[in-house]
């Protein structure tokens, strides 16, 4: 029988806090370093130790990054989910299980590999047995699939960052797992790996770290944050890299403040922006909820501010360690009253870096809050990265008047006067001695003086609308992958990028129709998104939430003649999107509308 090569999914069921994450990352890194297209998803609990965790490794020759439709190889270590995990498996699944778990193997239709993982680990180091038992299953997998031992040991070395003792112990555990498999297990494994050409310069990085680095190359001057999953590693990434990248004459060119709550974090960002600096915060939905009042102040007083929202499942505390695109509408129209905000939506780790620096330019150019919208899937999982491109434009600090000459050249200056006709006024900075102003969240006229006059308020709100509308085509344009037929078009955004190709392939295979896609990368919507809708007969707006939030935004903004052909597929269960699940929902809608 021919083996299935580089095209299967491994599911590893463990408990958190047992060191399994290191073992799983070693497995992922080894496959990656063998040149095999691979992705890893960590499904972890909101807990420090002892609750179920699954790690899904997808190998795909086509480069599909979503978790597959089914599990081909199951590793069972955690007694707590044992029975449920085992029952869910399709016949013929490879099951590598820890015989020391004191759990039954009650399936005879699976390919069973019993391994005394804990016993093997205990023989090596009784104290650390629980931890290194995880590396034993990595060794077993390596042997079953035919992974290169040298690459595996290099990954172990990478994971433990040169700590000789840990590297030696874990390498030995992997070897013992391999040996046990070779000597004691005789069943033939239907799956195998084969090394491919390794992409030069590729590496793994989490979306959060990519945003962190992008922010530093964007010249972040003040970071304030309050810890919250899944955004903490974004702030911590900035904190980790700042000393190396932003020390000048032995001193810091940045300030980091861990705030007392998200309200204060937002206040600090706005304080820094008011003073003339690039301030930012990183949070998740619950934090954005708390920041609403400040978001309105930043919008209305026209103070630049940057907020990264790494979306987790809401509402309320929700599923804190699961993923969703549920915050989009809240970001776009955050705070009370009429508001509209700029939102950057990266779909890849490369874009996480790029938007990390670009977002400051937008916030300062438009003197307004700018949001980065990521999610747990993109932010906290490791993704293959092709590299980061150095910013190709100088920083845009916007319309800041720095000298008296500049001030004198502006005719009829007023802090909120639209001198250039683009809705963007000029501003002066505290301490500069130039045209002082008392910023306020109350109604104000073009000079910044308090006013409740109807025409003053109306004109101010109309200008703010014009200002943000003017940003549409200056923000990242959508990524279009269009077919000649221009029949069915899918509009999507963010981390769905990693599943769309597989969805597209399923749709084309099963409907025989060509499908174009359009990935939105910013709000307010670029005019090319509307043009894409115009060009296609049937448009599906695909998103990972219940309420079809992008669909709602488009329906509100687009002309009536386009509305009939726009259809929503919105689904969220907390899991990273699986292609088949979304493809089937799309096919249901296409059938329903006769497309």
């Amino acid at each position: 029988m021919d083996k299935i090569v580089n095209d299967f999914t491994i599911n590893i069921a463990t408990a958190n806090g047992t060191g399994s994450q290191s073992a799983n990352l070693i497995l992922l890194q080894t496959l990656f370093d063998m040149g095999i297209p691979v992705s890893g998803k960590n499904l972890f609990p909101s807990n420090i130790s002892g609750l179920p965790t699954w790690y899904i490794v997808r190998l795909s020759e086509k480069g599909y990054q979503a978790p597959g439709d089914r599990t081909h190889i199951q590793v069972l270590v955690n007694p707590a989910t044992w029975e449920e995990d085992l029952a869910a498996l399709e016949p013929g699944t490879v099951v590598i299980w820890n015989t020391d778990s004191k759990m039954e193997m009650n399936r005879d239709d699976v390919i069973s590999y019993p391994v005394p993982m804990t016993k093997i680990a205990r023989g090596l180091n009784p104290k650390l047995a629980r931890m290194i038992a995880n590396v034993v299953y990595v060794g077993v997998i390596a042997e079953l699939l035919g992974m290169d031992q040298e690459v595996l040991e290099a990954s172990i070395s990478k994971q433990f960052g040169g700590k000789a003792k840990a590297i030696e112990l874990n390498s030995e555990a992997a070897r013992l797992g391999r040996n046990y498999c070779a000597e004691e297990l005789s069943e033939v494994c239907p799956y195998a790996v084969k090394a491919r050409d390794v992409e030069a310069g590729g590496f793994f990085v989490e979306g959060n770290e990519a945003v962190a680095l992008g922010s530093i190359f964007g010249g972040v001057q003040m970071l304030s944050w309050y810890p919250i999953t899944p955004s903490s590693s974004l702030a911590e990434g900035i904190i980790a890299w700042l000393p190396e990248l932003r020390t000048h004459e032995g001193k810091a060119t940045y300030a980091v403040l861990q705030a007392e709550d998200e309200l204060a974090a937002a206040g600090m960002v706005i304080g820094a922006g008011w003073a003339g600096a690039r301030g930012m915060t990183a949070t998740s939905g619950p934090g954005i909820s708390l920041m609403q009042e400040f978001i309105g102040l930043s919008y209305f007083a026209e103070v630049p501010s940057v907020f990264w929202d790494v979306n987790r499942v809401g509402p309320s505390t929700g599923l804190p360690t699961r993923t969703q695109q549920g915050d989009l509408a809240m970001l776009y129209e955050g705070s009370h009253g009429d508001t509209q905000h700029i939102v950057f939506i990266p779909g890849t780790v490369e874009e996480c870096f790029e938007f990390g620096w670009r977002i400051f330019d937008a916030a300062e150019r438009y003197q307004t809050p700018a949001f980065g919208f990521s999610d747990l899937d993109l932010g906290m999982n490791r993704w293959a990265c092709h590299g980061f491109e150095y910013p190709d434009e100088p920083m845009d600090r916007g319309k800041v008047v720095l000298t008296k000459e500049q001030m004198d050249s502006i005719e009829n200056y007023g802090r909120y006067r639209d001198v250039d006709g683009d809705g963007i006024p000029y501003r002066t900075l505290p301490g500069s001695g130039l045209d002082p102003i008392l910023y306020r969240g109350t109604g104000h006229d073009e000079d910044g003086t308090y006013s409740e006059k109807p025409d003053v308020y109306y004109k101010l709100m109309a200008r703010l609308k014009r200002k943000i509308d003017g940003a549409r085509d200056q923000l990242p344009a959508p990524v279009l992958r269009e077919e000649a037929e221009q029949d069915i078009g899918i509009i999507f955004y963010g981390s769905m990028e990693n599943t769309i190709e597989e969805i597209d392939d399923i749709l084309e295979t099963e409907t025989g129709k060509k499908v174009s896609t359009c990935r939105v990368r910013a709000l307010p919507l670029h005019s090319e998104v509307q043009a894409f809708v115009e060009r296609h007969n049937t448009v599906i707006i695909l998103e990972i939430n219940r309420d079809a939030q992008l669909n709602g935004i488009m329906r509100k903004e687009y002309p009536n003649h386009l509305l009939d052909k726009m259809h929503s597929v919105a689904y969220s269960d907390g899991m990273p999107p699986r292609a088949r699940l979304y493809a089937e929902r799309i096919m249901d809608v296409l059938k329903e509308v006769g497309a």
């Binding site: 310069g201 001057q221 003040m222 001193k251 300030a255 600090m268 009042e293 900075l429 301490g431 008392l438």
Partner: protein, 348 residues
């Protein structure tokens, strides 16, 4: 044509007239304590010779927080949101530590909605002056009790307050605030000396100023009326201030016992003993003074607590001497070579 020579305009140490420190016309009720505080702020900044454009005036929401429009018209300011002025000031302070941050707040801002932010600004020792214009009631919403209203006090309308108040000075002392004072909007001399000293202090300076609300809480049954406070003040000492540009030896030395405290900019705060000596370095003595006055239904006045050695937030952050806000792209954006190094590190 008149032959009269123009009257010489009085200038301060940096040759600025007082007009450079005034603001717009107040829209508060005539007689409001807050207006007296505004005029003290104008005098203090002028007499201290601070360049008006190097002051940042910060506030939250409420009657008190409207006042930055009425003083220091040449300073930038930020009338932020209710109770959140401390965080905005903190964010501005760390990117531009060279400005003098002057925060004005009320008892609604500071003792209720924003008490958390106040506490954390004290905890960080943000280098700022924080004035609480404390009248025990919410004015803009028409006279509800605030969290500083004294037990047994009765405002113009409504019932006697029975809820325990929050004493912001006691709270600040317990938090280790580096400068804690209480004063009265009607004690112009004392308040001026305290505000000047606070401006010369590096660290968080909290000044709780009883500032009667003439519309809702100035009746005889109120413990925060002009009449009550005047008759029931317990002064810890008399406070004097000698700016760094006036040589100490030219200042008349008081007859009784006194203590001089050197502030961060070289100015001197002179505390003259009135009856018994108050040790401003002793937090327990400060709390005792507060509790004693409280038991006697009196308001203690003066500098309660002082710690000139505590490093302020900006000193804690190892910041470059050039304010971060003044740095250009060449410093703020790492080089392409540095990005290559980052990527090499990520490759492992």
């Amino acid at each position: 044509m008149s032959d009269k020579p123009a009257r010489a305009i009085k200038l301060n140490v940096i040759n600025e007239p007082k007009d450079s420190y005034t603001g717009g016309k107040s829209s508060l009720c005539p007689g409001c304590g807050h207006d007296q505080i505004s005029s003290v702020i104008v005098n203090s900044a002028w007499e201290n010779g601070i360049k008006p454009h190097r002051i940042a005036k910060m506030s939250g929401i409420g009657c008190s927080s409207k006042t930055p429009a009425y003083y220091l018209g040449q300073s930038h300011g930020f009338n932020t949101v209710h109770g959140r002025m401390p965080s905005v000031t903190t964010g501005a302070n760390v990117v531009n530590a060279d400005l003098t941050y002057l925060g004005v707040s009320g008892d609604g801002d500071s003792a209720s909605i924003g008490i958390g932010q106040l506490i954390h600004a004290i905890r960080r020792n943000v280098n700022m002056v924080y004035i609480i214009e404390n009248n025990g009631v919410y004015g803009l919403t028409k006279g509800q009790y605030s969290a500083t209203a004294d037990v047994g006090s009765k405002k113009k309308k409504g019932t006697v307050n029975e809820t325990q108040p929050i004493d912001l000075c006691a709270m600040a002392i317990n938090l280790g605030c580096s400068f804690v004072a209480r004063s009265f909007s009607g004690s112009k001399k004392q308040l001026t000396a305290i505000i000047k000293a606070a401006m010369s202090h590096k660290g968080f300076a909290l000044i709780d100023v009883i500032s009667p609300c003439v519309t809702f809480n100035n009746n005889d049954e109120s413990l925060r009326s002009y009449g009550y406070v005047k008759d029931n003040s317990a002064e810890l000492h008399s406070v004097g201030y000698i700016p760094h540009f006036s040589p100490l030896e030219q200042v008349e030395v008081p007859a009784g016992s006194y203590r001089d405290i050197t502030l961060h900019d070289g100015s001197t705060m002179r505390l003259e003993t009135i009856s018994e000596d108050h040790n401003i370095s002793d937090a327990v003595a400060a709390l005792t003074a507060l509790h004693k006055a409280d038991a006697e239904r009196k308001h203690v006045m003066g500098l309660l607590y002082f710690d000139g050695d505590k490093p302020s937030l900006d000193a804690d952050l190892n910041l470059h001497d050039t304010p971060i806000v003044e740095m250009g792209e060449e410093i703020l954006r790492p080089s392409a070579a540095q990005l290559d190094d980052v990527i090499s590190a990520l490759r492992g």
